[in-house]
């Protein structure tokens, strides 16, 4: 019987009511008394020297209140990278300043070099256009192609960085010789060059920020589209503007999707704060979609060569990858962690591989910054491994399923230390593989393929067995790896006098349904009604601290903090109950929402204890403080390792190259599942983003650095009629061993496991149709597929 409340129930989402009735509270829905509007002036060339900006040309235009240029921010700090990576030679990465507004040079199309503050948006736009016309920029040759960027020392994105190289990273350098040797000795080596195509995250809500300044106490408030308001606060205060943190509140209200792109602090946030102080008025900025394309951090953009050494019966002996990773024109906050520690550390996949070595060069180009996008590094690793293993199976004429089976770690091998420094705690990769094969009716595939053939279509099946590292992350470990922050999370559980509960969490919900799921967990543990629990998130003035939501970390890290805070509540409740029940504390047990004297029928309900804590008349005041509110910070001691097996079935039209995804099956191990309905929804969404990457989405810049895919007319988003229903299962659960909820995280899985399954399926279809095609780069558009078939 499915549960109807608490952990494991598909509780309906409470947040839905406001979203379904038009009462959502997104940043741009706020209306501020007396507000002014910011409009950014963005470069229309990829690379150029700013010769002059004639602000006098617009200062007297209708409605113009102020004009800012890069000059105004020379004295303040830059927006930093959150991770310091060291190159193989021990040198620290090159870290150019990322200013609020470009100064001296513009470095990508969309790079903002000025901002207009005006009475209305329209007046701001008119003035922005006029200012652009009054600006002289000497266009410089654009650095676009990564290979050319590192080869040409004279053409520099940043004048001080001669080879456009941010770092040249090896993981793990000590493995290098052994991997070289193992590949030399391997009976078979599969080599594959592939492109992990650049994507634009495209949360449906464009970025938006409102700055307010209160002269009464010299304080600020930033309302912004953020996945992690505390981190934004830290960055904008401590690194960029030098505002004391106690003078700043950051609020991320309802946020319309993030997928990584709203993790980072962006210059517009600093700008609206500075402008608000200058004008003594609230200042609002909302991106138009075309600005989002130009200025949101993009995702992926790797060019990789992977080599897999294997025995002739398909046992993997070694994996080596060489990658160029685009970081764009500036380092976005997570941009140096994403291609390194979220990518290289995963290069053993779910397999028992003795030798792995990853080399990755991060390259500056005159394109928008590239950073974490749903999955962040792990999709790139998974795609490389799963395409290469599939190719290896094909080259050796082995069954791709059996090759996986031969190499997958077995349940008795956990905990397992990989050659790339992770310790997988639990898993059962055979179980998820078997489950996926069963749900996808793998056995019936040949019959379906024959039926497709009778209609002139080529049917193919593609598999990917994937793993990721989530629950980011143990602070001591990430500290060693270069992180400049800790990656714990925090929660305060406040039991009100009448027994209802407010929980202030550091995680931020922008579609994940935390308000519902976190309440389920609290209700379950404290034995009270879900309706008596409110989850408060997104406001730094209310919440102790938090590192936000990304990397499938909310439940595993913040949920664990909440669980620990509840442990403290229960421990305090036991003391109070012992006093009230005249028993010894050691005899008190907490069960079903009551504090009981073990073995007797003496008990106090949770609500009675809460009331006593706030009206402490009969209360152990000498030992216990009044009130019932506890905060916990939780720092995980390992990553979590969700894993699974995905099967994609496609039909290819050999005449047109059109690929149709006819079935998609996911068997995932997310550990314990708190709300199956929400987990399934996360997988659906992730898979469709993965199908989008594999089939239609692509971000292209021309050789001058102009973005060719800068709107929904040119950038193909998956639409309802591009995708099938998706079969999902999460029954093969091996709970995480090191967090109290046993959860692993589910937010990114779909986007990680799906692209290789789809491309593998297309390659399978073509080969079954007699076309000897080894690889097609994503997206597998009709023209690419047709060209591959027709040589």
């Amino acid at each position: 019987m499915p549960k109807d409340s608490g952990i494991g129930a598909s509780s309906k989402r409470r947040e839905d009511v406001r979203f379904l009735t038009g009462n959502g509270n997104y940043t741009d829905d706020h209306s501020m008394q007396g507000e002014a509007h910011a409009v950014m002036v963005r470069s229309n060339v990829a690379h150029g020297k700013i010769l002059s900006i004639d602000t006098s040309a617009v200062e007297n235009m209708p409605g113009v209140l102020a004009v800012f240029t890069g000059e105004d921010f020379v004295e303040v700090g830059g927006n930093p990278a959150g991770w310091l990576i060291h190159s193989r030679d021990g040198e620290p990465m090159r870290e150019p300043k990322r200013p609020v507004l470009a100064h001296g040079k513009v470095r990508h199309v969309g790079d903002a070099y000025a901002a207009i503050i005006a009475e209305t948006v329209q007046q701001g736009r008119d003035a922005a256009e006029a200012l652009a016309a009054a600006t002289e920029i000497e266009e410089l040759p654009a650095v676009v192609n990564m290979a050319a960027a590192v080869a040409n020392a004279d053409n520099r994105v940043h004048d001080e960085i001669p080879d456009n190289l941010c770092f040249d990273w090896g993981w793990i350098e000590d493995n290098r010789d052994a991997v070289d040797q193992a590949l030399k000795d391997a009976p078979h080596v599969t080599t594959l060059e592939l492109v992990n195509n650049r994507l634009v995250p495209n949360a449906m809500e464009p970025r938006s920020s409102i700055g307010e300044y209160y002269s009464s106490d010299d304080s600020y408030k930033l309302t912004t589209t953020s996945q992690n308001p505390h981190l934004t606060k830290l960055l904008v205060c401590a690194f960029v503007l030098g505002i004391p943190e106690h003078k700043m509140t950051v609020v991320a209200p309802d946020v319309g999707g993030g997928f990584g792109s709203k993790i980072y602090h962006y210059g517009e946030e600093a700008l609206v704060l500075v402008a608000a102080k200058k004008l003594r008025r609230p200042v609002r900025w909302t991106a138009e979609r075309s600005e989002s394309f130009l200025s949101d951090a993009h995702g992926r953009d790797h060019v990789t060569t992977i080599e897999v050494g294997a025995t002739l019966d398909g046992e993997i002996l070694a994996i080596r990858t060489n990658t160029l990773a685009n970081v764009g024109a500036y380092l976005s906050n997570f941009s140096t962690a994403t291609p390194t520690f979220l990518h290289g550390t995963l290069m053993a996949g779910p397999y028992k591989v003795p030798h792995v070595y990853v080399n990755l060069k991060a390259v500056f180009t005159n394109t928008a910054p590239v950073d974490a996008y749903r999955g962040a590094g792990r999709p790139e690793a998974t795609y490389s491994i799963e395409r290469a293993v599939d190719k290896m199976a094909r080259e050796l004429k082995l069954d791709p399923v059996e090759v996986r089976r031969k190499n997958l770690l077995t349940p008795d091998q956990f905990p397992y230390t990989t050659p790339v420094a992770l310790v997988y705690d639990t898993g059962n990769y055979q179980a998820t593989l078997d489950k996926a094969l069963e749900l996808a009716d793998y056995a019936g595939f040949e019959a379906r393929a024959a039926e497709s053939k009778s209609r002139g279509k080529l049917r193919g099946m593609g598999l990917s067995t994937w793993i990721e590292a989530c629950g980011i992350a143990p602070s001591h470990l990430v500290g060693q790896l270069g992180s400049r922050v800790g990656l714990y999370d925090a929660a305060t559980v406040r039991v009100n006098a009448t027994g209802s509960i407010s929980v202030m969490v550091g995680a931020h919900s922008h579609g994940q349904g935390h308000e519902t799921v976190f309440a389920q967990i609290v209700a379950d543990k404290l034995g009270i009604d879900e309706g008596a629990v409110d989850i408060v998130h997104g406001d730094t003035s209310k919440i102790p601290f938090g590192m936000g939501s990304y990397g499938s970390r909310s439940l595993a890290v913040c949920g664990s903090a909440m669980d620990r805070a509840m442990d403290k509540i229960i421990a305090k409740g036991k003391k109070i109950a012992a006093h009230m029940l005249e028993a010894s504390e050691g005899d008190i047990v907490f069960e079903d929402g009551s504090f009981k004297v073990e073995g007797t029928d003496k008990a106090k309900a949770f609500g009675e204890i809460a009331f006593a804590a706030y009206v402490p008349h009969n209360y152990p005041l000498e030992e216990v403080e009044p009130g019932l509110e506890e905060t916990a910070f939780y720092d995980p001691n390992n990553f979590t390792y969700p894993a699974g097996a995905y099967l994609c079935e496609v039909e290819v039209d050999p005449d047109t190259g059109v690929v149709e995804v006819v079935a998609f099956t996911c068997a995932d191990d997310f550990g314990n599942v708190m709300n199956p309905m929400i987990v399934e929804g996360q997988v659906h969404g992730g898979v469709v983003q993965g199908i989008g990457q594999a089939m239609i989405e692509n971000t292209t810049y021309d050789e001058n650095g102009q973005l060719m895919s800068g709107s929904y007319m040119d950038y193909a988003m998956p639409r309802a009629d591009d995708v099938p229903m998706i079969t999902v299962d999460h029954s093969c659960a091996t709970p995480c061993t090191h967090n109290p909820l046993g959860v692993k995280g589910c937010g990114e899985a779909g986007a990680i496991g799906s692209p290789p399954a789809l491309v593998n399926a297309v390659i399978d279809a073509l080969n079954r149709g007699g076309h000897d095609v080894a690889h097609i780069d994503m997206p597998v558009t009709p023209s690419r597929v047709w060209s591959a078939m027709n040589g």
């Binding site: 989402r13 379904l20 979609r289 898979v687």
Partner: protein, 160 residues
């Protein structure tokens, strides 16, 4: 500036607008009906769908002045008279047809227009009809189920 008046969610509404003011701006900024969203600047995403004289319209493609005298319905007008969720809204909640909620008003308005013309659409018909509504969160799976449920074609309540 032009004076316009229209009926919005059954109530009279009026205002002064510039010729270039879009209907979506008028709804959001003048009437403060912020449930109708703006997700793009090329009429592609459908976050702004409202009904004008009973037809689904992208409110970012219509000038406010052109809606003068019209009967306009927005997401704020979709609940039952007692404030409870309407059938389509309820089906979206029951089947987890929304995550971040940003595309949702447009999805609900499009779904309502579809079901008016085609009370029992097939999955393929729903997918085709929603071609102008982008959702980045749900993968559409549960939106399809919600619309099937709202049309009485799904009996099981649990979302799969």
């Amino acid at each position: 500036m032009t004076s316009i008046s229209m009926t919005v969610n059954g109530k009279p509404a009026s205002g002064e607008v510039e010729g270039r003011t879009l209907l979506v701006q008028f709804l959001r900024e003048d009437l403060r009906l912020t449930g109708t969203h703006v997700g793009c600047d090329t009429s592609q995403c459908g976050a702004c769908v409202v009904h004008v004289n009973g037809e689904a319209v992208k409110a970012c493609t219509m000038f406010a002045a052109d809606a003068d005298g019209a009967d306009v319905r927005t997401i704020e007008g979709m609940a039952n008279a007692d404030g409870s969720l309407g059938t389509i809204q309820q089906a979206f909640q029951d089947h987890h047809g929304l995550q971040c909620g940003f595309c949702t008003p447009g999805m609900v308005m499009s779904a309502a227009a579809l079901l008016k013309d085609n009370p029992k659409p097939t999955e393929a018909e729903i997918r085709e009809y929603l071609e102008g509504n982008i959702c980045r969160c749900t993968g559409y799976h549960n939106i399809i189920k919600a619309i099937q449920a709202a049309s009485g074609q799904l009996t099981a309540v649990a979302a799969e």
